[in-house]
Amino acid sequence: MAGTTTHPAAIRNAFADLITSTCSTTGRLVFRITGSTATSPSTPVATLTLSNPIGAGAAAGVLTLSAISSDTNAAGGVIAFATLQTAAGTIACHTTVGTSGDAININSGGLTVTAGDTVACSALTYTACP
């Protein structure tokens, strides 16, 4: 019989907090072009610096990141992936990203970033698997 696997909050919090400890003191949020994998991350589009630690302890399986510093001179490219990692490149989380469609922008360039653009992140949450 197939079923659903879930975890208690303490386990989910521990998993989310592992993201924080893995990012250690030099956490980065890196947006990347297509073709990225966890073992072979693709070219960065923009690199944002995370707080130290990257956030407070997780609650209900959700890690909410503290203030994130902008990249005021992005390398440029089309955002397709994102990693939470250390400055040295140790990856704690690798994911595809796409727009959820609830942002409204006139004459938007979408997720295409031109070299020299500023990329900021005002809110980021990591929700551990259920």
């Binding site: 073992t39 994102a82 595809t96 796409g98 942002a103 938007s108 031109t114 500023t118 949450t125 929700t127």
Partner: protein, 56 residues
């Protein structure tokens, strides 16, 4: 005989709000981003085994 699992994958989810300020125009766009399904390559790297076709 074992029954194949049909449980749906339950992934961690990353949600973020990003802002791109265009150097050329000075205009700022806001995008709500959400993580997608885990790519097959990532799942394999993390130890998952691809589903094999059933034998005839």
């Amino acid at each position: 005989m074992t029954e194949p699992s049909n449980a749906a994958a339950q992934d961690a989810v990353l949600n973020m709000t990003i802002h791109i300020t265009r150097k050329a125009t000075g205009l700022t766009e806001t995008h709500e981003l959400v993580s997608g399904p885990v790519p097959v390559e990532d799942a394999i790297a993390l130890g998952a085994t691809p589903e094999q076709p059933e034998e005839a």
